[in-house]
């Protein structure tokens, strides 16, 4: 399928760009990046650690920049993201692979719920245009403008601290051993509930608005008028209109995903959820640059993979993408 192949090529280019930026960023910044790090760490870095950092950042001066660049690619293909300085001597990839599943499950579930519920709500609001349901729009706008982590703090203080309905930190009860047992899964759901609510509440407005605006336009189409005129039940007519109105929502999935992921990372931090976001905070606080860069790469790859899935769905939904050749 040429459409999908084109998208795949685009994601490869994007991945290449992300990796290259990741490599060259330390070189582009003003001054000597290693000196900056030493100055910032206020004596926390030992001379050996500074030397190791120089080699890792390709600033050792032993090899040309391009030599370092190709060596960096070689390391990446072996899954080697370098050594974490804060979890020394653990590999960055080891640290990340422990955290990644938490984030994937939390953000994945929340995003799917948000997309499905938001799209349905948007269709309904457009269908009942002019009724009290229009009030949903300003309210959802407000929720969209609330920073994720602020909403997270409010939920944490109210449902976690005051009411005590939900745990306020962690991904599961400390006493439990991770596994596929029923109590463990229940504990995971209990811990993930508030973070998921935060992500859904903050991201759902975008889906409602884009679906509603598209539905309003689609409902003016002649074929919808015909469907109504020949007396089809309302639910079926909405279905006809929604089927076409949903396409831009699916294709704009990639645009909003980057925002959702950023917000989700901050949500994890507030809830001390053991995912990538929490690692990000640790990496920032302990000036762990290899971990920081590893997180950037892994998040980029995850977003690209999710986009590819969205593209697959789009190809299934829209026959036009399959016809053009």
């Amino acid at each position: 399928m040429p459409h999908l192949l084109r998208r795949l090529a685009f994601y490869l280019v994007t991945a290449w760009a992300a990796i290259t930026v990741n490599f060259f960023l330390p070189h582009l910044m003003p001054g000597d990046p290693v000196q900056n790090l030493v100055a910032r760490s206020e004596g926390k870095l030992s001379p050996q650690a500074v030397d190791a950092l120089r080699v890792q950042l390709g600033l050792s001066g032993h090899q040309s920049l391009w030599g370092d660049y190709f060596r960096y690619w070689g390391q990446l293909f072996h899954g080697n993201l370098g050594l974490s300085t804060s979890f020394y001597p653990a590999q960055v990839s080891t640290v990340l692979s422990a955290a990644l599943p938490w984030t994937l499950i939390l953000v994945g579930t929340a995003t799917v719920i948000s997309f499905v519920v938001g799209t349905l709500a948007g269709a309904l609001v457009a269908w009942r245009r002019g009724s009290w349901l229009d009030g949903v729009l300003p309210v959802s706008t407000f929720f969209q403008a609330v920073p994720y982590f602020f909403f997270a703090l409010v939920l944490l203080i109210f449902f976690g601290n005051d009411l005590g309905w939900f745990p306020i930190a962690g991904g599961f009860d400390q006493g439990m051993s991770p596994g596929l047992s029923l109590p463990f899964v229940g504990s995971v759901i209990q811990h993930g509930f508030l973070p998921a609510v935060t992500i859904v509440a903050s991201s759902i407005a975008g889906w409602i608005l884009s679906m509603r605006n598209m539905m309003v336009t689609t409902m003016d189409e002649d074929y919808v008028l015909v469907a109504e005129a020949k007396g089809l039940p309302g639910r079926q007519v909405v279905g006809y209109a929604a089927r076409n109105a949903i396409l831009p929502s699916v294709s704009s999935f990639s645009l909003s995903l980057s925002f959702v992921v950023s917000g989700a990372l901050l949500t994890e931090i507030v809830f001390s959820y053991p995912g990538i976001g929490f690692q990000l905070l640790q990496a920032v606080q302990s000036e762990d640059f290899p971990l920081l860069q590893g997180i950037f790469l892994i998040i980029t790859f995850a977003v690209l993979a999710a986009n590819l899935v969205a593209d697959l769905v789009y190809t299934l939904l829209d026959p036009r993408t399959r016809q053009e050749a």
Partner: protein
């Protein structure tokens, strides 16, 4: 299909002054956009006057530790006795400044890239579109964190630098929208005629195309400001940018790192969060107004049932019937 409604039926009688002014600005007279504008002006005033109005030094510590709101401290105090209200007023400036600076820079960048790509076409378009899409897909916050973390301390505490860095990740959305719009305008008759007359390229872009993009540019500017403020607050909250400089983000950083939520000091983190949310809402509301201006079909939502009945429209807007408020063509 649309029905022309007599504008007099729609005009709200209790707001004559506002209605006149709004029609002169050719903006929809919807309460949404008016509330949004009012809030936005309020926040801009706050940014200008905030540091002057602040009753206390925001960093000064007093003996009133962790006090709830009172007459002496309108929004209470922090763990070290700092006045939250003063922090909020002083912090407004850098938050709003960075938002608007990043918004303006990113919008300028998106006009250059988007209009060039749409107007020139061919290989230039292919390359610029590719770059735009790459920037759209790469998650911005982690990239910004990596960039900010590598900056020397003296540079990362400079709000202008932070604003510019944020704008680097915020231009792509606007560029994509502007490219699409330019593309649809490139072959229209008025542009073709300017070309036939022999107008130079810069004049066609400057005088024929850009004025027609004004509404979209404005909308993308507001969207980018919204994005920039959210991003800046997030960076400060994480402590990546200098948190000794007061902003709403750094207020939240201190509230979080000193466990304001755990000791139930709601007056500490609620004001900055609410201020950010309201500023964001005002930007989004004005943006709605512009959207409705661009696409009149969306506007009918502003018709309440009462107004619709007075205008002789059916109780529930039926399919294929789009009531359009008067005053625009």
């Amino acid at each position: 299909m649309s029905v022309d409604v007599d504008p007099e039926l729609i005009a709200l009688p209790d707001e004559p002054v506002v209605a006149v002014r709004a029609s002169r600005l050719r903006l929809p007279r919807s309460p949404k956009i008016l509330i949004g504008f009012a809030l936005l002006v309020l926040f801009l005033l706050l940014a200008v006057l905030g540091p002057i109005l602040a009753p206390h030094d925001p960093s000064a510590t007093t003996a009133d530790l962790l006090q709830p709101p009172s007459g002496a401290h309108w929004l209470g105090t922090t763990q070290s006795g700092q006045d939250v209200f003063s922090q909020l007023l002083v912090g407004a400036r850098s938050t709003v400044l960075i938002g608007f600076l990043a918004g303006a820079t990113a919008t300028a960048l998106s006009i250059v890239v988007g209009v060039t790509a749409g107007f020139v076409g061919g290989l230039v378009d292919d390359i610029l579109s590719l770059v735009t899409n790459v920037f759209l897909v790469i998650p911005a916050l982690p990239l910004l964190i990596v960039m900010a973390a590598y900056l020397p301390q003296s540079t990362s505490s400079n709000p202008v630098v932070i604003g510019l860095i944020i704008s680097l990740t915020g231009w792509a959305w606007g560029a994509r929208v502007l490219r699409a719009q330019t593309l649809s305008m490139r072959r229209r008759d008025f542009v073709e005629s300017a070309r036939v007359i022999g107008e130079p390229r810069w004049r066609i872009i400057g005088h024929e195309i850009l004025p027609n993009l004004a509404a979209i540019v404005m909308s993308s500017f507001l969207f980018t400001v919204l994005y920039a403020i959210g991003t800046f607050v997030a960076l400060a909250f994480l402590g990546v940018v200098d948190v000794s400089h007061w902003s709403w983000g750094s207020m939240l950083f201190w509230a979080e790192s000193l466990n304001a939520a755990q000791v139930n000091a709601w007056w500490w983190f609620f004001p900055p969060g609410l201020a950010i949310a309201l500023l964001g809402t005002s930007l989004a509301l004005v943006n709605f107004g512009i959207d409705e201006f661009i696409n009149p079909r969306l506007r009918a939502a502003g018709l309440s049932r009462k107004v619709a009945r007075r205008a002789g429209l059916p109780r529930r807007a039926k399919l294929g019937l789009t009531p359009v408020l008067g005053g625009h063509r």
